[in-house]
């Protein structure tokens, strides 16, 4: 099965890190990504720009509105994602637990709808 791991953490927490802490976190992400590529679980993954860069688009009554900011204001923000291949939820959650941000934020594990053909 394919799963999307949505990485939520508080941007303010990131902003509070000094250069060497940021460097260490970056290194941890590099190591983690490399390991799930090697084990064959990795399908895709990206880090996102901060929510200050987010724009939300809606069409209501046929008219498009564009607003500054994310879809929902939350304590933790979507900061990146991985798409992985795992045989079941237990394997997916075990991988999610190894995402470096799991220690400070939350990883939401969502199965992807598989369509035949």
């Amino acid at each position: 099965m394919r799963y999307l791991l949505l990485i939520y953490d508080a941007e303010s927490q990131w902003a509070g890190l000094n250069e060497s802490q940021k460097g260490q976190m970056f290194q941890e992400y590099m190591t983690f990504t490399e390991s799930i590529k090697k084990s064959g679980h990795w399908l895709a993954g990206q880090q996102l720009q901060p929510i200050a860069s987010a724009t939300t688009v809606r069409i209501r009554n046929g008219r498009m509105t564009t607003t500054d900011g994310p879809f929902a204001e939350t304590r933790e923000q979507l900061g990146g994602f991985y798409m992985i291949e795992a045989s079941n939820l237990d394997e997916a959650t075990a991988i999610a637990a190894r995402v470096p941000s799991a220690k400070i934020g939350s990883i939401e594990v969502r199965p992807i709808v598989e369509r035949a053909g």
Partner: protein
């Protein structure tokens, strides 16, 4: 063996095996019922086969294959085809052979799947009672005082989550066992407490819940004989259950431990509970449930309230608090300290807990404070605390108890 008793005693085991074979909760349930319907029809003419369980599993398996064959949606899908092929080859366990471990394995798989931590606690409870306990949706709904359609919806969502999220149908590997077992024990103990906390209204159905939880815990102990915490949970349930008949008077009013008719406690349950507690503590040490069972055991051993070993109980609560801190344990610890070392000492701990604001809406905290205040002769403060408890209490029988106590401390002294 009649089909009715076969259904009652064996449907849980048969369903566990069928879920493994067909890989789907709903399909397994449907074909099991098909198989029992076929049995009703055929056994009356041809007589009961030598091994009725094996017959039922084989028949259900064929019904599943038929259904999959007929279902065009399945035929179009390559993975379902592979699944179907595996089903035709998949071996059903040999029910005639008690050494065949696959029956027990299937049952264990089902317990761990129904109690998977990715399911909400209420979904786990519903699913466990439905698939392992063999209760009907209506019975579970009645026990939890929700409308049947709500419970049906809850079950549908739980099964959907298992399928969509890819919750595996397996017992966890050794390394994950302690953590996953926690989820199972929490679920079983919640089922027990749901039955135990009730004392009026739907009482009959709810004492069934106690029996159901004890039965499931017993099964778990049989399947995981080395797990001391599973043993401790069974012990704890038995020791509490031994007092069930004396917890309420004929009017359904709550009777406190010290006023219960101890001669009516179930000695058989106490005997078994004590021996399980002892072996769980000896082999597994002070686990979460083992410590609680040890406390319940000390109460069970006291023939008269005055014989209760309160210093030991207070020490055990202290140990529980140190290892598994929670405000509710803190409350129980304070109450035990009051019995062992004086009401003033207990009240000091309760006041600290109250001031911390960690148990804001729990009626037992002001109720416990009121009791100690009354004992210390501070009637007015006690009345205030009872009123606070009354504002928070939900259970009818406990409400009447608190009202009586309030009246008692408010009565003018002669």
């Amino acid at each position: 063996m009649s089909i009715e008793s076969l259904y009652r005693d064996e449907s849980g085991r048969i369903l566990a095996t069928l879920i493994r074979l067909v890989g789907d909760f709903d399909l397994a349930e449907e074909v099991m019922h098909d198989a029992f319907a076929a049995a009703l029809e055929q056994w009356s003419g041809h007589g009961v086969p030598d091994n009725p369980r094996a017959w039922l599993v084989a028949t259900a398996k064929h019904k599943a294959i038929d259904r999959l064959r007929r279902d065009v949606r399945f035929r179009e899908r390559q993975d379902e085809l592979a699944h179907w092929a595996a089903l035709e080859e998949g071996a059903a366990p040999d029910f005639a052979d008690p050494r065949d471990g696959s029956i027990a394995d299937d049952r264990l798989r089902l317990i761990f799947t129904c109690c998977h931590p990715a399911l909400s606690l209420e979904a786990r409870v519903a699913l466990t009672l439905k698939t392992l306990g063999g209760l009907t949706t209506e019975e579970i709904a009645r026990a939890f005082l929700v409308p049947a359609p709500t419970m049906a919806q809850r079950l549908v969502r739980a099964k959907q989550k298992i399928r969509l999220a890819g919750i595996p149908y397996r017992a966890p590997p050794e390394a994950e066992l302690p953590e996953r077992l926690d989820g199972v024990l929490t679920t079983l103990y919640l089922i027990f407490n749901e039955g135990y906390a009730a004392s009026s209204g739907a009482e009959l159905v709810r004492s069934d819940l106690c029996a159901e939880a004890i039965g499931l815990a017993r099964t778990l102990v049989g399947l995981l004989p080395r797990s001391t915490e599973a043993r401790a949970v069974l012990a704890l349930m038995l020791l509490h259950d031994s007092r069930r008949a004396t917890r309420a008077n004929p009017d359904g009013d709550l009777v406190l431990l010290e006023n219960q008719e101890r001669g009516l406690w179930d000695t058989e349950e106490i005997r078994e509970g004590l021996s399980l507690t002892e072996s769980a503590l000896r082999e597994g040490g002070p686990g979460y449930y083992a410590l609680q069972a040890a406390i319940a055991a000390l109460h069970a051993e006291a023939k008269h309230p005055s014989e209760t070993d309160w210093p030991q109980i207070a020490a055990l609560y202290g140990e529980l608090l140190r290892r598994f801190p929670s405000p509710v344990v803190e409350l129980n610890h304070a109450a035990a300290v009051a019995e062992a070392h004086g009401a003033g000492e207990g009240l000091r701990l309760l006041d600290a807990l109250d001031a911390s604001g960690r148990l804001p809406d729990y009626h037992r905290l002001p109720a416990a404070r009121a009791q100690l205040l009354a004992r210390l002769g501070r009637a007015e403060d006690a009345a205030t605390a009872y009123r606070r408890a009354l504002a928070l209490v939900g259970n009818e029988s406990e409400r009447r108890f608190l009202e009586r106590e309030l009246a008692r401390v408010s009565a003018p002294t002669l």
